[in-house]
Structure formats: structure tokens, C-alpha cells
Amino acid sequence: MKGTGILLMTILVLICFTTPINAAQKTLVYGKSQAAIALDPGVVDEGGSSIVVSQIFDSLLAYEPGGTKVIPALAEKYEISADGKEITFFLRKGVKFHDGTDMDADAVVFSLARQQFKDHPYNQYGPWKYWDTSGFKDMFKKDGSLKKKGIIKDIVKTDDHTVKVLLNKADAAIMVNFTLYFTSIVSPTAVKKYGADFRKNPVGTGAFKFVKWVKDDHVLLKKNKAYWGEKAKVDNLVFKVFPDATARSMALIKGEVDIIEPPDADNLKELEKNPRVKIMSKEGLTMGYICMNVERKPFDNKLVRQAVNHAIDKNEIIQAVYGKLGSAATMPLPPSLWGFNKNIAPYTYDPGKAKELLAKAGHADGFEVDLFALPVSRPYNPNGKKVGEIMQAQLKKVGINAKIVTYDIGTYWDKVDAGEFDMCMTGWSGEPDPNDWLHRLFTAGYLNSARWKNDVYTDLVTRARSISNVAQRTGLYEKAQEIIHEEAPIVMLAYGVLTAPMRDNVEGHIIYPSSKLVLRHISLK
């Protein structure tokens, strides 16, 4: 009996104090919250997979490191024809996929055409969600008749290193799409070899090559030594899943991971106190806002909507809920983006003014509304319930009784999209083009949650989309913002701030405002 006890103790001590070391190679471990689901960039639509495919694949264009300027990637340069209907990409020469296949015009046409054309032999391995929601291809009704013409007409090879994308109509906003992961260029050889299993065996041109994927646990990548651009500075890259934010933070404190996807505000505060951890942050292209349903009373009245804008104290909400994860927002697009109108004075927190406006609108005694609280945490709104509670108290001060309602996330969006709400929380993480914000979110379409329609506004942002001259577009967008500010269909809440907590030996990380994760810049000291 005694002997067993000693043996057990010895084993325990051995277990506790033997830490295996494999120091020959530099391995960067990234702790993320969601497991990857599929690794084909065309089918990916969630963060758990997109941050992995962003390391394995390249698109034709990219963002400058840390900025929103579009720079060449697999395409060395591009030209847009005078009528705006023809984009010519001149491809970088000598680039090879991880499997040795040449990255040429055939590969580019293959990568894009498989998403565009129903009769493409590899179209069946979709669904190509972003390609569809971006309106690139024709949409048909159930009976087969054309419902909506797509933006892209055809994708053609003109020579081995030149590809033309032909459009049905001029669309200046399309260019940002060629920086995104869903337009990544994939190895045609690998797609043909793996078929449906390409999503488990991704082959691209990126700074890291795919090695292994243990579902729900980790993905292992290794450095692509033949990368055409700035090469990775570590030998291996591991994406490890930690679904629980507290466990993820503790893994960083212990040094089991080198850098993590940001946890909630509470855990961030804990991390800040740790001397071995440093936290980088940068304003991102994401915003949280409140929609008022303009089809319902009393929000059909502009004065009421303005009153609500004066009744909400954003700073209180930012301090209590967002902490370092947000800053007070004014216009429905991020201030770092071109086209942002700096000359509009934002609505001030002024309950007196709010009451005055309500009285003028015939609601001196206030009214009751439902306030939909976002049931999930998002970069633009970390805690919908808490935001709701603070807003409820603030609205109460001007006589508005808000009842907080919430549903599971699926039902929530169903009801919001169907207009079955008075006030709801929503948000957007978009691309660095004002069109993605001002046109996409506030013209006819299911994303226009406030159901607000204004012909002058729609005309301005639609015209801006068809011109490629940035100065002209800026003028139109600035005017559009004046209208939306005056009409006030929404209450702007916060611009999300992107953070990256990491160990103090992690160097060179760059946060991209578009939330794109690029890990090849990182070196380990």
C-alpha cells in the first residue's frame, strides 16, 4: 500500500515538472475562439476559417500593411477601361502554388469562374456565399427566368499573364472584392485532384503552406520558403482553438499561445495587468448602431428619431460596455475611411432637447417601444443586453419606456429583416470603400434594417458607385451623409477598436483595419 503511494507520487511529480521542449524551430501559436469549418476560401464565411485561409492564399490585390490602400498582390497592376466595364489584371510572373503548379491566367480564370458559372465542372463544390451575396452573378427565379442581372459578365484569359473581368455595368465598388479571401486564387491542379475534399486540403500561393488540420483542435501550417512577397519569419504557424475567452486569456498568460484573438473587455483588463503580455490596438472598419423602424409609429416621425439621438449618452455606453474595444460613433462609416464627412456636428447628449423634440412631435407624455437586444457578442457590440439596459435607463429619462426583447440569433435576424421590431441593435464590419457602408446599408435591400427610404440619398450613393474618380465620389458621399444625419433613421453607437493581445516576445505584428489577419509579419524573439 505504502509502495503504491510513493510510486503514484513519483509519477505525479514527473508529470508535473517535465516540460517537453522542441526549440529547433520557431513556432507561432495563435489562439482563436472558433474552430475552422472549411479551408476553401471560396466557401468560407466565418472567422474561424477565414483567418486560416488568409495565411494560405493570396488574392489578386491586397491592402497595404496596416492601412486601407489597395496595393498589388498576385496582380502586379490593373487597368479599368474608360467606360468602367472592363478590368484588366496583369499577373505577377514566376509565382507558383504550394504544389508547384504555375500561378497564371488559367489559374485565375479557374478560381473565379468556378464561383461564377453554374455549368463550371467545379461549381458543385460551393455554396459560394460571398460571391452570391456580392451580386456577382445572375440571380434567377424559381421558374428559371432572370431575376437580377449580376455585376460580372465574364472572366477571360487574354494571354498567359493577363486576365480581363468584364462587367455588365460600371461599378467602382467592385475593386475591394479582389482584396478579399473569397476571391483568392486556388491551385486548379489541387481542386481537380481533391474535388469536394479541397476544403480539407487547401493549396494556395500564400506565405504559409497547409500541413494538417485536427478538427475543433488546431490547424498546422508551415512557412512557404518560396513565397513571392515578404516571407514569413517563423517556421510553423499553429491555430489553436480556445472556445472559452477566459481559458484563452489564461493560455496567453501561461505562454501556451503567443498571440490571441481578443477576448471580452473583462479579460482584456486582466491581461493588461500582466507584465509578460502586451496589447496592440487600432480602430477597425466596424460599427455598431441602433435602427429605428421608420415604418412603425412613432418612428415614422423624423422629430422622434432625432429626439432619440439626443437622448442616448454614447459615452456612458462605451465606458460601461466597450471599454477599450470601442469609441463613440457619429456617422455610419468609419472616420478613417475616405469620404467621411468631418463637417457635420454630431448629435449631442441633451435630454432637455430630446424632450422638447418629443413634445413637438406630439409625444410629450412619452411612449412605449420594444428594444431588440443583440443576443451574441460581436466586435461592434460586445454585450447587447448590457447596452440595452443602459439605453433603457437613458430613454426612461425622456419618457420613453423601452422593453428589452431578445431571441436566439437566427430568430433575431429573421425578425429584424422582416421589420418586426421597433428598435433593434445591429452593426457592420465592412470593406474600405464608402459604398460598402452608405449604399449597402441604407438603400433598398434586406440590410437596410431601419427600412428607411430616401430618393435623393439613394440617387447620390448610386451615382457615386458608377464613377471611379475618388474626389467626385467623396463629394457625393459627403452630401449623402448630411441627409442621413438630418433624417436620423439610426442612432450611431460605436466604432469597434481592434485589439491583439500577445506575449512580449512577439514582434512586428500589424493590425489591418479591415480585420484581415496577416501573420507573416510576426517574428519571435
Partner: protein
């Protein structure tokens, strides 16, 4: 015996039929549109409609049900909406992790639970007995996620004895053969003479296994205690003592053997619960098992995945119970089928 086993296996069919039916209709009653969730918050209504058609959700419910029954009969659980992979493949690739965790955890809870039960019973109404039973009560009532976080904070971050989560040190780049990491790591010992894989796998499994073991441990301790108390009052124990056998022989040979019978049933049931109920433990310890997978399938309303997962767990649960019953008959000569 073979007749009994055959009978029990045949009885599996109506049980599973019931499980499939209940799971199917419960999932269809739950709110939220799976097609909508599959495509993300900002999908176009046309895309959602097309997806509903593809998933067969636009057909009448009874047709959907009959189609599903037909599929399940040939072990086709459909494809996961979320990943597009066959549900059976998804399930089987995650099951080893859960089984490994459950087995280690049930070993811990069985050994410690039976020990605690015996000590309590032999020292009935002593301070040790009260202490052990109070601890068992706390064990049963403790929220697992809270305990898990406390374990990490104390033993992992504070004392730096164990890692915070995962199955093995990722920097070791182990290539698993069986997906049972402890076994795989033993292979490494023989193949490369390297113990670090096994130690790492063992270190990783201890905290989650302890967290998962608390409730079964408490239950097993209490059942052992009451069963022991009942047995020691039997005539044959008095006879054994009258024969002049040592107290040790009386307790461990005569009393414990008989007292363990109800405990074995409980262990079987608790093992079944462990397989299905490890959601929170798996979530917090980043353990890539079936509980976590099922949980995310439920939140994503991935209907084929949830149905397949619940059916698999039901099958395993029933099989574990069957195994326990057979074992029971084997060790207890009083029972003959």
C-alpha cells in the same frame, strides 16, 4: 446468456426508433430557420429560399420525417449544414477524444468514490463520514464550468503544474494514429523511446478528467456508502465475523464484493452521462470532443448534425448499459438469465 444479449440487442431497435422520432420532432419545433443560419445573418432571401429547398425544409413535415427514417436505416445521417461533411464522419472523428476523457474520468471517480464510500461506511457517523459525505454533496452541486475555471486558475496559472487546455502540447507535433492520444503516445515510447508525448498527453487530460469526475465521484461515494451499510448488517457478515476473520477480510472480501453490485450499475450510467454531458468541460478545456461539437451544432441549428449526434450518444448509452448488465450477471452468480 446469448439469448439474453440477442433479446437486448433487438430491443435496441424500438428504443432507437423512439429516439429518432423524438429528436426529429423536437428539432423541428425549435425556433429559428436552419437555412438562414447556414447562410449567415446577411444572406439574401433568394439564397435562403434555395437553401431551404436544398435541405428539403420546404416539404411537409411528415415527408421529411419518413425520408429521414429511410436514411437512418442505412446509417446515413446526412451532411452537416455547417461543414458540408457527412455527419457520421464528423461524429467519428471527434468521438475518440470524448471517450478517452470519459474513461480517464470514470477511472478517477470509481477509485476515489469507492474508497470514500468504504471509509465513510466503516466509520459511520464519525467526522470522516460527515466530512466525506458533505464533500460529496458539494461535489454533486458544484457547477462544472466554475470548478473547471478554478482548477485552471489554481493548478495551471497559479501553480503552473498543468496546461490550461488542449489534448497535447501542440509544439510536439504528434501524429496521432488512433486518435486516442494516450495510446498514441505510448506508441511513441516504444517507437522512439520518447516519454515526452505520453507525459504531455497525461498532463493535459488530468484537469479536465478531474473536473468531469466530480459529480460521478460524489454519486459513486454515496451509493457505495449506503450499499455497504446495508450489506454489513446482513447475517453472513455476522457469520464471517463470528468465524473470527479479520475486519479487513470481512470488509474487502465479504462485504465489498456484494456491496459493489449497485455501484457497478451507477458507474455505467455515469459513464453514459459523461459521454454526453462533457459539453462545458470540453468547452473550457478546449477539448475537441463530441459534447462541444454537439453544442455548437445546436446553436447553429445544424439539424442533421444534432440528430446524428443525439442518436449516436443514445446508441452508446444503451450499449454501455447493456455491457453493464452483462458484466453484472457475470460477477453475480445469483443472477442467471
Amino acid at each position: 446468456m446469448i439469448k439474453y444479449i440477442t433479446k437486448r440487442l433487438i430491443l435496441l431497435i424500438p428504443t432507437l426508433f423512439g429516439v429518432v422520432t423524438i429528436v426529429f420532432f423536437m428539432m423541428s419545433l425549435a425556433p429559428g430557420d436552419p437555412a438562414r443560419l447556414a447562410l449567415g445573418a446577411h444572406a439574401t432571401p433568394e439564397a435562403v429560399e434555395a437553401m431551404r429547398h436544398e435541405l428539403g425544409l420546404d416539404r411537409p413535415l411528415h415527408i421529411q420525417y419518413l425520408n429521414y427514417l429511410k436514411q437512418v436505416a442505412v446509417f446515413d445521417f446526412g451532411k452537416s449544414i455547417k461543414t458540408g461533411e457527412p455527419v457520421l464522419y464528423e461524429l467519428l472523428s471527434r468521438f475518440p477524444a470524448t471517450i478517452e476523457l470519459s474513461v480517464v474520468s470514470i477511472i478517477i471517480s470509481t477509485i476515489l468514490g469507492i474508497l470514500a464510500g468504504i471509509i465513510s461506511a466503516t466509520r459511520q457517523n464519525s467526522m470522516i463520514d460527515f466530512g466525506a459525505m458533505f464533500a460529496a454533496l458539494v461535489g454533486v452541486s458544484m457547477p462544472v464550468f466554475w470548478l473547471a475555471l478554478i482548477l485552471i486558475m489554481v493548478f495551471s496559472v497559479g501553480l503552473n503544474l498543468f496546461p490550461t487546455g488542449g489534448r497535447i502540447n501542440i509544439r510536439l507535433f504528434m501524429d496521432p494514429l488512433t486518435q486516442f492520444y494516450l495510446l498514441d503516445a505510448i506508441v511513441y515510447i516504444f517507437r522512439e523511446g520518447d516519454f515526452s508525448y505520453f507525459l504531455s498527453a497525461l498532463k493535459h487530460i488530468i484537469l479536465p478528467a478531474v473536473a468531469l469526475a466530480t459529480i460521478p465521484l460524489a454519486v459513486i461515494a454515496r451509493v457505495t456508502r449506503s450499499s455497504m451499510l446495508e450489506v454489513v448488517r446482513q447475517d453472513y457478515i455476522r457469520t464471517a465475523r463470528a468465524k473470527g476473520l479479520s475486519e479487513r477480510t470481512v470488509i474487502y472480501k465479504h462485504a465489498l464484493r456484494n456491496a459493489l453490485l449497485p455501484v457497478i450499475t451507477i458507474i455505467g450510467i455515469e459513464f453514459g452521462y459523461n459521454l454526453a454531458g462533457a459539453v462545458l468541460t470540453e468547452e473550457i478545456f478546449s477539448w475537441p470532443g463530441i459534447g462541444r461539437w454537439l453544442y455548437s451544432a445546436v446553436t447553429a441549428r445544424d439539424i442533421p448534425a444534432v440528430q446524428g449526434g443525439v442518436i449516436l450518444i443514445a446508441v452508446v448509452f444503451v450499449l454501455v448499459n447493456l455491457a453493464v448488465d452483462i458484466f453484472y450477471a457475470y460477477i453475480n452468480p445469483k443472477i442467471r438469465y
